[in-house]
């Protein structure tokens, strides 16, 4: 839709044509072209990259901050760290679990898991990878050091890691854990070099990481950039990177990130905003790549508050929102309507469950039935999330259309999620985005619907709780899937929230980049990428 707009620079270019004619001439072969198209040519000429050969530069909004795997939960960490560290298990770009640093594994029973480790693998500093490194990693994660970080909690099912021989370890679990293997593919589960860590300490490690991955970190400058170099000794000869170096540049402002992409300062831009799609699409040298994600955006209700304690009001709100309009009109079609708090990528997704249709008449009926016409609802939204701000303004409009009144309140993102929501102080409705990186509905459902959980100040239902407990105690995929399907149906009846859409991540790529594949889960894997 953006194509019909006249770009600003075209107007400006016409206005400045006189004064800037000279400079435009010096700028390339299109200087003599004074027509409106001239502007576009300038634009394209600039996206050409000089001074880089077999190197890739990626513009990302957030920095790693702390490379130590036990000290982080940030998606921004895995964006870079996936190239540097590896776990026993590798999750590929299709989200399938593959052998990583372990060649093979086998469950002896529900709580005993044996790994056969890969031989001949070295860390970037030359230290050998073996069973001791695995044991060290998990002792550290589950011990005192790990207790100081947020990752330990994801691995508490592990009782002990037993070293059988140099290349065999057995994980003894204290309880069955259906998502353990997934957890071993990243974050706290990645293997760190024992000698290096002992010699230099965690503070040094957090800025000078060493792993076994296909790239090694050669320069890290916080909030500025990270430079990775190809690991020539990488154990998988098929996956030795094609690129010489990869540079991550930290550029928090989306508009600046796009400007860098347009001018050839970066080759790939992570997190293209919906509002920038038109610019990328109009640009001949840039391509837009979309990828589905596990992240769902939803409105959640504080079911303790009048009038949303009335299930009819929550149902009415679900009917009142035109999800397709939100996606098509506000997001240029980027987004997938969802019926529960998970996307297609999530284990437990119920393909038979339809999202609420847009039915304002039904909504009005329900609101009349509940006798709450004209009541004012407070809707909390993160102040620094432009997409959310746009969406809630449209939603306010939908709700006003069916007889409710909405008062939007902005709060800082962390204040909203970690102070207001847990305390039940986030109004009647709040905006919430969540995507479990385990890609298993357990993570989301447990946090949002289990009674008394941090993010769940008010919702409680016996049937929901039973289902949640049941899936947690099972390792049978079939059984768990069935439970999750039932759970999503029950939740749609109860309406503790109004799921809106599953996010689509957008990457913009300079055409010199080949074999790019955008990850579903933020974990860039760059081994196959080449540049012209």
């Amino acid at each position: 839709m953006s194509e019909k707009h006249t770009p600003l620079w075209r107007l400006l270019a016409l206005g400045m044509a006189g004064t800037l004619a000279l400079s435009a001439c010096g700028n390339g072969d299109d200087g003599g072209n004074g027509s409106a198209d001239g502007g576009e040519d300038i634009d394209e000429a600039e996206a050409e990259v000089d001074g880089r050969d077999n190197d890739l530069v990626i513009g990302v909004p957030l920095d790693v901050q702390d490379w130590d795997p036990i000290a982080t939960f940030a998606l921004a960490w895995s964006t870079q760290a996936t190239s540097v560290f590896e776990g026993l298990v590798h999750r590929d770009l299709d989200l399938e679990l593959q052998p990583g640093l372990a060649e093979d594994w086998e469950y002896h029973d529900d709580t005993t898991l044996e790994f056969q480790l890969r031989e001949g693998v070295e860390f970037h500093n030359g230290e050998p990878f073996n069973a001791d490194a695995v044991a060290y990693t998990f002792d550290r994660l589950l011990g005192e050091e790990g207790a100081q970080g947020p990752q330990q909690e994801n691995y508490t099912a592990i009782e002990e890691v037993e070293v059988v021989d140099d290349y065999t370890v057995i994980f003894h679990l204290n309880t069955p854990d259906p998502v353990l293997l997934t957890n071993l593919s990243g974050y706290g589960g990645v293997i760190v070099p024992p000698e290096y860590m002992e010699e230099h300490g965690p503070e040094h490690f957090s800025e000078n990481p060493v792993g076994t991955g296909p790239f090694e970190v050669t320069e890290y400058s916080r909030d500025n950039q990270t430079v990775l170099e190809r690991n020539e000794n990488y154990w998988d000869e098929d996956r030795i990177p094609e690129l010489d170096t990869v540079t991550f540049r930290i550029i928090p402002e989306a508009s600046t990130r796009l400007a860098e992409l347009q001018t050839g300062g970066i080759d790939v831009m992570k997190e293209v905003e919906i509002s920038q799609i038109g610019t990328v699409e109009d640009h001949d040298l840039l391509e837009l790549d979309e990828v589905e994600t596990p992240t769902v955006r939803a409105l959640r209700f504080d079911v303790d508050r009048e009038p949303v304690d009335d299930p009819r009001v929550r149902e009415a709100i679900n009917y009142a929102i035109d999800r397709n309009a939100l996606i098509d009109d506000l997001r240029d079609g980027y987004g997938v309507p969802v019926a529960s708090f998970q996307s297609e990528l999530s284990f437990g997704f119920n393909p038979d469950l339809e999202p609420y249709p847009y039915d304002p008449d039904r909504a009005r009926e329900l609101i009349e039935e509940a006798g709450v016409e004209g009541e004012e609802l407070d809707l909390y939204v993160p102040g620094d999330d432009g997409n959310a701000q746009e969406a809630v303004q449209a939603i306010a409009y939908f709700l006003e259309d069916v007889g409710l009144s909405v008062n939007i309140e902005s709060a800082e993102q962390n204040t909203l999620n970690t102070e207001l929501v847990p305390a039940g102080d986030a109004g009647h409705i709040h905006w919430f985005g969540w995507g479990g990186w385990t890609l298993d509905f357990h993570n989301t459902a447990w946090l949002l619907y289990s009674e008394g959980e941090f993010y769940n100040p008010s919702f409680a239902d016996d049937q929901v709780q039973e289902l949640l407990d049941a899936q947690r105690e099972s390792v049978s995929e079939e059984e768990r899937e069935e439970i999750f399907h039932e759970l999503t149906e029950v939740l749609q009846e109860l309406n503790p929230d109004a799921p809106l859409y599953a996010d689509v991540y957008l990457y913009a790529i300079n055409e010199r980049v080949q074999n790019w594949q955008s990850p579903h889960d933020d974990r860039l894997q760059l081994e196959d990428v080449t540049v012209d």
């Binding site: 400079s23 702390d66 503070e203 300062g265 962390n414």
Partner: protein
């Protein structure tokens, strides 16, 4: 003189102390860093308690403040919750880029403001004067982030003259320094103009004229020197404000500076970094002001009674 210096030092200590109180307690109102760190997980109470204790947040708040002050005296700013690095090293890494940006902005401001201010003053009441004053007022009428984004659009995206963002080469300084400098030049050119006017009205300029010295020579020899004093004062007084004014420009231009680090730290509830960063900013401001005052009282003994104090 010694008494004056002692007195000013005493004031400086009070100011830093008050700021340490303000920042220490206000940042603790923003929320629990442990909750932010666990935002994506399913922490047990045990894990939350462990981390709270590890970060020293389980102690009474006055004890925490006492520890903070005690460490501050030995220039130990603590350890970042988020990065595990010492705050001193994080501040050391970011103060350079911020100071350089501030200095570059100041240089741009001077390059613009002196010619504009001098021409305005000498050609007082003419169209040139009006134009100069309009220019300086327009300079301070832009929202700085908007100006920054517009400059990126025009000079990086459209014309391709300068890089849009980042830090490293001299070219990277151009756009952020111009953004900062344009805004500063608005204030500075007014200062230059008014101090030039003061000089031009004074007796010795008329005398110089009557001696037949060419007017531009007079203006430069006497006027410029006179205009330098308020300029230096302005830079001194504004230096702290300038460092803070770079905050938004750092955000727009992805500049790895102190202001951006503090904002990120506020959002992440990384108390030690916020405290350390703000205290360092305050120390610099106070020190610069002290130096300006001292050099003042040396240059101009009449105001030695205590500078701004009466």
């Amino acid at each position: 003189m010694a008494k004056f210096i002692l007195r000013r030092l005493f004031h400086a200590v009070i100011v830093v102390f008050v700021i340490s109180l303000l920042i220490f307690f206000s940042i603790r109102l923003t929320g629990d860093p442990v909750a932010v760190m666990f935002a994506a997980g399913e922490p047990s109470q045990q894990a939350i308690d462990n981390l709270t204790a590890e970060l020293g947040l389980d102690q009474p708040i006055w004890v925490q403040y006492g520890i903070f002050l005690r460490d501050l005296i030995t220039f130990d700013l603590g350890t970042s919750f988020r990065t595990g690095q010492s705050v001193s090293s994080m501040v050391a890494a970011t103060i350079g880029p911020t100071t350089l940006l501030a200095a570059a902005g100041m240089a741009v401001a001077i390059l613009i403001a002196f010619p504009v201010g001098i021409v305005s003053a000498v050609k007082r009441g003419t169209v040139l004067d009006f134009g100069g004053r309009m220019f300086s007022l327009i300079g301070i009428s832009f929202p700085n982030f908007w100006l920054g984004i517009m400059l990126i659009l025009i000079f990086a995206v459209m014309l391709g003259w300068f890089p849009a963002s980042g830090y490293g080469t001299p070219q990277h300084f151009v756009l952020p320094a111009i953004t900062l400098g344009l805004i500063l030049s608005g204030i500075l050119s007014r200062l230059v103009r008014s101090s030039m006017l003061e000089v031009l009205n004074q007796q010795y300029i008329a005398t110089a004229h009557s001696k037949g010295l060419r007017s531009w020579v007079v203006i430069f020899r006497h006027g410029l020197r006179n205009a330098l004093i308020p300029t230096v004062t302005f830079m001194g007084v504004q230096f702290g404000g300038l460092l803070a004014g770079t905050v938004i420009i750092e955000q727009v231009f992805s500049w790895p500076g102190l202001g951006r680090m503090i904002i990120d730290a506020i959002n992440a509830r990384d108390y030690p970094v916020v405290q350390g960063g703000v205290i360092v900013l305050a120390l610099i401001t106070v020190a610069v002001n002290l130096l300006v005052d001292l050099s003042y009282s040396i240059l101009n003994p009449r105001i030695k009674a205590g500078g701004s104090d009466s």
